[in-house]
Structure formats: C-alpha cells, structure tokens
C-alpha cells in the first residue's frame, strides 16, 4: 500500500488490461502460425476476408460477453437466434415489396422478443439462466426449422453485396465493426446500464443493496443479447446468400470460447468488448486452419469442444493466480 503512486498506477493498468493484452498477443501468435501454414494468408485481401468471415462470430460474441459479464453464465440461445435470424432473412427478404428492410427488422425483432422471454423467465421465475436458455434454444431452433425445414431460400442479393462490399474503398464490415464497437464501448463505460451489469456480475447482492434494479437490468441484457445475436445472423445470411435452419448450432460454443479467450471471466463482472473481438477472430482463424487441412466436420466438433475446455482451463488458472 506504500508503493509509489506512479508504480501502482501501472499495476492498476496491468490489472485492468492484462486480459486484453494477452488476447491480442495470442492473436498475433495465431496470425504468425497461419502465415506459416499458408502463403496467401498474410495478404491484405485475405485479411479482409478473415475479418468479413469473423463478423457474425464477433457480433454474436458481443451478445455472449454481455450475458457472461452480467450473470457469469453463458446464454445458450445465442446460436439458435442466429439460425432463426438467418432463416427469416432467407424467407422474408426475397418476397417483400420493401426489399430487405422488413426481413432485417423482423429478424431483429424476433431476436429481441426471444431475449425478452429469456430475461423474464430468468428473473421472474428465478430459474437458472443456463437451464432457461437451454430450453429456449430448443424452442427457437424448432421455430427456425418450422419456417425453413431444409437449407435453401434466397437472401436479397443486393443486400448481401452491400453488407459484404466496400464503401469508398473501406470494407463495409470494418465500418460496421468500428461503429458497433464504439457503441458497445460507450454502453459499457459511460452508461448506467454498463456500470450496472458490471456491478451485478461483480456481486449481485451488493449491487441490489446499492439500489441497482437487478431484474430490469438483467432483462435488458438478454434483450440486447437477442438483438445482437439476430444481427450476427443477418451478417451470416449476407455471406451465405441463403438460409440454413441449423447454421447457428456451432455458434454458441464458439462465442463462449471467443468471449472467455478475450478475457471475460466465468465468475462474472469482468470483461471487455475489445478483448472479445480478438477472441472471436482467433477462434475463426483456428476454424479456418482446420478447414484448410480438410478436417471433416465431426472432427471439427471435437476440436471445438477441446478448444473450449482449454480456453476455460487457461482462464481458470489465470484467475486463480
């Protein structure tokens, strides 16, 4: 406690941002490894592609980050909402007279409504979030299958081109990412909501005794998580040009791995948006490498499980320290 002020300032900075720094160091390592594995990897063109490919996972991981910070428990319905949103995009956007707009709005609305449902059941029913989101993920997955039983449909092509194209020479996904990150950063840093979720995740009892409206904030978290997941689904649709009712299945697992890799702790109350971006890109690159080596999808599932376990172990050891 008597350490010089300047030194303790640095320790504080390290305490606060070490997780982010570690995540980005890890990203650099993965980029180097990828470069060795493929000669085309480090081209600007390919890096842009990686970023575009990572967008759905990054946005879905934002959703997961909010839930993990607030409750310390992952939202298992993220992937199902991604599927639902994709299916809505592939069925609604093709027919409507207003082009893609009704599809986008409907997908976001559906995400928000299911998020609201999650939030209300969790807070008012006092049921564990993990069980609730497991149950709703089955329901949402079922709804997606009912809307589009088999892969197919068509997502508005003009919309897809716009969302994956360039604007004044800058990739649109990059613009969206910067914009969204900025919004999320403001949300976390400067609003009552951001402060409240960090408080609830830090210690729900203390937060409640300090006058934080815990239930209201939690419901809002799940609504936001639903909307962000739907947004991730829309981005995925723009890359696929079509719908697939099970496309979101691996997403939940990947968002948990990405979020924890980005420094969000499973005990809640700690995590950053910036870290999550690195985590999501790392997971995407690892998946790409697996694809590159032609590893079939069953083995990819095994890998995803293993990756999640290693990430959680790493995070646990780091926290214990």
């Amino acid at each position: 406690m008597n350490s010089p002020l300047s030194l303790s300032k640095y320790t504080n900075l390290w305490d606060r941002y070490s997780q982010v720094v570690i995540a980005y160091l890890f990203l650099v390592v993965i980029l180097i490894v990828a470069t060795f594995l493929s000669d085309v990897f480090l081209s600007i063109n390919n890096l842009t592609n990686v970023l575009i490919a990572s967008m759905p996972l990054i946005i879905a991981s934002f959703a997961q980050t909010l839930c993990l910070i607030t409750t310390g428990i992952p939202d298992l319905s993220v992937g199902a909402i991604v599927s639902l949103s994709n299916v809505i995009a592939a069925t609604v956007m093709t027919t409507g007279p207003f082009g893609y707009i009704p599809g986008v709005l409907l997908a976001l609305l559906a995400g928000g409504v299911f998020g609201l449902l999650n939030g209300i059941i969790i807070t008012k029913g006092r049921i564990q979030p993990i069980i609730v989101t497991l149950a709703t993920s089955a329901i949402i997955g079922g709804v997606a299958l009912a809307i589009l039983p088999n892969p197919g449909g068509l997502v508005h092509p003009g919309f897809c081109q716009k969302l994956t194209g360039y604007y004044y020479g800058i990739p649109v996904p990059l613009i969206v990412l910067v914009f969204l990150t900025f919004i999320m950063w403001i949300l976390m840093r400067k609003t009552m909501f951001g402060r409240s979720i960090l408080a609830i995740g830090g210690n729900e009892n203390s937060a409640y005794s300090s006058g934080i409206q815990v239930d209201k904030i939690k419901i809002l978290t799940f609504v936001l998580s639903g909307v962000l997941s739907a947004m991730a689904g829309i981005f995925l649709s723009a890359r696929m040009y079509s719908g697939d009712p099970t496309v979101g299945e691996p997403v939940t697992l990947n968002t948990i791995a990405a979020t924890v890799l980005g420094g969000t702790t499973l005990s809640g109350g700690k995590g950053t948006i910036i870290g999550t971006i690195a985590g999501a890109i790392i997971i995407k690159i690892i998946n790409n490498i697996l694809n590159l080596y032609g590893i079939t999808s069953f083995y990819q599932y095994i890998f995803q499980g293993l990756i999640l376990i290693s990430v959680l172990t790493f995070s646990f050891l780091r926290e214990k320290e």
């Binding site: 303790s8 005794s209 006058g211």
Partner: protein, 512 residues
C-alpha cells in the same frame, strides 16, 4: 522440561510441572491482517483456563490453531511434551482435542442419540447401525451428566441450551483430553449457565484440561483457575483468578478506558423525532416493531444471534419485503418496497458482511464508491463521469481511505478501508437514516475507533443512526437507546444509565 536447568519461562509465566499443552511464539496472518503476534499459551490437566479479550483479540484464532482448523505461520505447539502440527481438525480430534463451537453443529433432523454417536455408531452383526444400542448408551450418558432428555427426541425440537448439551455430549464420546469452549454461555439463560458450569466442573474433576473462551469477566472469574488475556492478537498476561479482580482484567483486555474507544454520547436531549417505525411485521421473522429516533440518537439493536435483528435492518432497507408497517422520516411517510425506493428515501444499510453484501471486490474503489449514488449523477442514462470523479476523490479524502488510487480493486484494501468504502458509498446518497449491521466486525481497534467517531458525527448531523451488534461492549459504548430483540420482537427498551450488560441479557433471553 523438568531437569537441572532453570524452569522454562514464557512471557512471565513460569511453567511448573507438566502442562498438557504448550504453545510458543505463535504467529498467524490472514492476508494483511495479523491475527496473532508472538503468542504463548499453556494449560494443565484438571484446570479450567480462561481466554479473555475483546472481539478480534485473537481468542478464536488461537483456539482454532489448537484444534487444527488453522495452522500457525510459525511457532511451536507441544501436546504432552511432543511437538505437533495438525493439518486439520480431524487430526486434532484423534489426538484428544475437541472444541464446542459457538455455532452449534448438531443436525436438526436427527435424534439426540443419533447426533451424539454420529460417525461412531455402534453396529449390529450385519454391519447396520444398531439404534437400540445408541439409545441405551445415550441414556447412560445423559444420566451421567444429569441431563433430562429423551435419546429419541429430534434435535430440532430442543431449546438452544439443550442442543448445546447434545453438542457437548457428542464431543465427550470421543474422550478428549483438552476441551475448548468458545463463548458457550452467549446464548444461555442464567439457570442454563449454571448447568453448564456443573458440566465443566465435572470435566475438571475427571482431570481434563478445559479452555474457556469468553469476554465476560464475571464468568471467567467464576469458572476459571487462570485467565490468559489477549489483545489485538498479542499476549498480554496470565493471571490467577483467586488473586485478580475484575478491573484489573478489564484494563488488561482493553488497554485503555472505555471512554477512549467510544466517543462521547449525546448530551443534548431533543424531542424532535427524525425517524419512526410503526407496527412493522415480516411474517415469520419479526413482528410488531415500534420505535423512534430523536435527533442525535444512536440506537443500538441488541439480542442473541438470530432473533430478528438482521431481518429488522434488512426490511427497513428494502431488502426484505415487509408485510405491514409504516415508516416515517421526519414526519414524512416513506414508501419502501425495494432497495431502490429505500435509497431514494434516504435509507441505506451498511451490511454485516462487506465481502458478500457490501462491496464489489473485483471492481475498483471508484466504481464501488459511486455505485449507490449513481442515480444522482446522470443525464438521461449517461453517467456524468467528471462529477463522479469529483465525488469519489472527495469521499476518499474525507473518510481518509488508504488506497494508492481510485482504480485499485476494492478486494485489495484492508478490512478497515473496505469498511470505509462501504460507508463512503452510502454517504453518497446524503442519507437520512443509516443502518449498520455489525459495523466493526473484523477490523482493528484503531479503525473501529475512527468508525465510531464517524457514526457519532453522523448522528450529531441529524442522521438517524441505527446499529445492530453482537458485541455487547459496542452496544453499551455507543448507544443512547437500546432495543433488545427476542424471537423477532422487541423485548425491552433501555435508555441512559439502564443500558447495562445485565439488563440487556435479561431481555435478550426472553425474560420480561
């Protein structure tokens, strides 16, 4: 130890003969807090040895080291001349050391006999538990200790005093040689205390070594042969009770007079009510609570643990839904249905356990201090960060919180400073009623003193200060008015000169 050389000498106590247990130079730290500093202790067979000291003096830590719950950081412990180092209480038990804890560990759903013989049940030939035998053995034991109880009765149907007897018998079954009692009388009425004394005298006659922890001086003088006094984790002295008097021990225990620790009480009597509670009920927890606070009053809520004190404070703070009752702040009715509405009417609670209910240990001092009053510094839903910075740094200065800077994680602060952070966040709302639940638990004497001063200042400034505490000294030293609670009701109100240990205990055990 006995030989040609001069008798060994531990801090003024000459070791005569063969003590069954000796402890030398014991040190123990918990994080930043030094719980024991170079403590020596020894006790003998056939004697009752008292351990005296205020809350936080180190009595419990020392006894938990003896039983093996804690391990000393350094120092030597010898049992019957042999060096020991118990890794867990099980090892201590095997070596004949047993402890009757303040919190009872009996299982409510089992019978008296089942509790007593838990983990050493007599078996039938088939290897099943022999209930018949348990009951016969229990009957014998109960008779031996002159306790009138049925072995088949469920423990949940017994009084606290009877449960404690069961706990003691349970320990006796293992035939220990050293038995530690941790404040055993704190939940007992007078007649029950006599029964306990009888048991302790019986143990003494059976040549057992008894260690008796208490902060009640009279009791120590009554039952013990010797008393060792600890203060702030340090060994002070060991006195023979035949030669000591009450004042001597008090002076040793506290190290200064009472007035020095507690600030002067309210001398100006005002009639202006600033807070009033009418007919407050929480089903199954508290009933028919009525009291008021006048300007400058500190109100103490006393009683044995679990008689509704915490529930009363929690329901006033909106953390526990009250079923009926009216709360007035300066003649204005306050509608309290959750913590948010309580805070907005100016009522807030400093909880008993700052780590689980007061602080966000993994968040910064700044975020912690700002949290409760967040709503006062916002525009739409954005936090006015500049205002927040100003408020937080003012609070740190005003309360003299020792932290390298405001970004430090609250979990890294010492207990006293953490408690100041909890107070600081409550002061942010400009409170009109401040509720303190065991405000000075686990903080050192200096921090306590500062905290008491602060509480008195708040009371003088017109805040209604209401404090619940398990520490009678604290209640007596701080309160202008004491409400004693028993089974969820206020069983007695005491003011001024009438606030004495005896009077409080009288009401606390339900006598009218």
């Amino acid at each position: 130890m006995v030989g040609g050389s001069p008798p060994p000498f531990i801090k003024g106590v000459i070791i005569i003969g063969n003590p069954i247990l000796t402890m030398e130079n014991i040190f123990k730290n918990f994080g930043n807090i030094q719980a024991l500093k170079d403590v020596d202790f020894c006790c003998y067979k056939g004697q009752v040895h008292g351990l005296a000291g205020e809350n936080g003096a180190g009595k419990s830590t020392l006894s938990k080291i003896i039983t093996g719950v804690h391990q000393p950081d350094s120092g030597t412990i010898k049992l019957k001349g042999e060096k020991i180092n118990f890794k867990n209480p099980k090892e201590g038990q095997k070596n004949g050391i047993a402890m009757v804890y303040q919190e009872l560990s009996v299982l409510p759903e089992l019978t008296v006999g089942e509790n007593i013989f838990l983990d050493r049940e007599p078996k039938t030939k088939l290897g099943l538990i022999d209930n018949e035998k348990i009951n016969i053995k229990t009957k014998k034991l109960l008779k031996e200790y002159e306790i009138k109880l049925s072995p088949k009765k469920l423990v949940k149907d017994l009084s606290i005093a009877q449960q404690q007897m069961v706990e003691i018998l349970k320990i006796m079954v293992s035939e220990p040689e050293v038995i530690i009692f941790d404040e055993p009388t704190s939940a007992l009425a007078k007649e029950e205390v006599q029964k306990l004394y009888k048991i302790i005298n019986k143990l003494k006659k059976e040549n057992k070594a008894v260690i008796f922890i208490s902060h009640r001086i009279e009791e120590l003088l009554n039952i013990c042969d010797k008393v060792t006094i600890l203060k702030d984790g340090e060994y002070i002295d060991t006195v023979k009770t035949k030669e000591a008097d009450q004042n001597e021990i008090i002076n040793l225990m506290i190290g200064r007079s009472l007035q020095a620790i507690y600030p002067e009480k309210n001398s100006k009597i005002t009639e202006k009510k600033i807070f009033e509670v009418k007919n407050l009920n929480v089903e199954g927890k508290i009933s028919n609570i009525n009291f008021d606070a006048k300007k400058g009053d500190i109100i103490g809520i006393a009683g044995l643990e679990g008689n509704g004190q915490t529930e009363l404070l929690r329901s006033l703070a909106g953390l526990l839904r009250n079923d009926s009752g009216k709360i007035y702040i300066k003649d204005e009715k306050a509608n309290i249905h959750n913590s948010t509405s309580a805070i907005k009417s100016g009522i807030t609670l400093i909880p008993a356990d700052r780590k689980t209910a007061g602080l966000l240990l993994t968040r910064s001092v700044r975020e912690n201090i700002a949290l409760t009053s967040l709503y006062l510094r916002k525009k739409y839903n954005f936090i006015k960060l500049k205002k927040e910075l100003e408020f937080v740094s003012n609070t740190i200065d005003k309360l003299n919180i020792k932290t390298p800077n405001m970004q430090q994680l609250a979990g890294y602060l010492s207990g006293g400073n953490q408690q100041k952070v909890v107070l600081g966040k409550s002061l942010g709302i400009k409170p009109r009623v401040l509720l303190f639940n065991r405000p000075t638990r686990g903080i050192d004497v200096e921090a306590k003193q500062e905290f008491y001063k602060r509480m008195r200042e708040l009371a003088n400034d017109g805040v209604a200060v209401i404090m619940s505490s398990a520490d009678l000294m604290e209640i007596i030293g701080m309160s202008d008015k004491v409400l004693v609670m028993y089974e969820g009701k206020i069983s007695g109100k005491l003011i001024g000169e009438n606030i004495t240990e005896e009077n409080i205990m009288h009401y606390a055990v339900g006598q009218s």
